[in-house]
Symmetry: C2
């Protein structure tokens, strides 16, 4: 199969709903941007949830899981921000207007998340369980603080 045909088949097989619409578009549509940023939040929940449970003593501490999840979160924490494009203001989502009205504070919150997760990656390699749990709590506080300011209550 030649390359052009291969990609055409892929585009059809994958469908616009998967985000592969970016194959042929310079700029993703607002609904796609919202779907992508919500996908990041879903996965941050998947990989941070167990760490929160460990920090709370609700799940047994597992250093290997913390290291793996911290690595995933380190990547995920850098993914959502370009999804908060002003073009998405009219889309259905829990993002509050403050995301766009107080962009400096929102960006600062985003950077804080990246930085604290980056520290979690480092600490998770130390073998110091207490320090790891303390840093998990710092990350939890950054998540919660940002949601408090920028996400509508359910």
């Amino acid at each position: 199969m030649n390359k052009k045909l291969l990609y055409s088949c892929l585009a059809v097989a994958l469908g616009a709903g998967t985000g592969f619409a970016t194959f042929v578009m310079a700029q993703a549509k607002p609904d796609v941007l919202v779907k992508q940023r919500q996908a990041v939040m879903t996965l941050q929940g998947k990989y941070f949830g167990p760490l929160g449970a460990m920090a709370q003593g609700k799940a047994p501490y597992n250093a290997a899981v913390v290291q793996r999840n911290a690595g995933f979160l380190d990547n995920l924490s850098r993914m959502p921000w370009d999804g908060f494009d002003p073009s998405t203001k009219g889309e259905k989502s829990r993002a509050l207007p403050a995301v766009y009205e107080d962009k400096a504070k929102f960006d600062q919150s985003g950077s804080a998340l990246e930085n604290e997760i980056s520290k979690l990656v480092t600490v998770s390699r130390s073998g110091d369980e207490a320090a790891v749990k303390a840093q998990i709590s710092v990350v939890a506080k950054v998540c919660g603080g940002c949601h408090e300011s920028f996400r509508a209550k359910q």
Copy 2:
């Protein structure tokens, strides 16, 4: 704020729909697993799409974007598999029964994706544009092959 209260607030603020339900659950519910694995596909689309466009010559080649996206994809490619739990068979999704009926082949496809993306990470650091584009095409073929066998057409 003490830790217990902090996590209680987080659980309320984030809501079960985000995947933070794992804070208090040992095993995610089938609908959550489906949402999480679909979130991975959405993000794989976000970060592979532009690479596909570059390999096709539909977008200008940008080595920095390829390196960044390859790193993200390297993480993402390891995230979806535990979401294909047999408990999700009854959930609405495009996953075909073959996912569970031919698990060996499905697992093999998953490993192939991880391996070829890992190679893309390495090649993306080489500065060899032709080799990078060739490896992007290999990854595209692995994506398409797996979808052909295991995902319902839209």
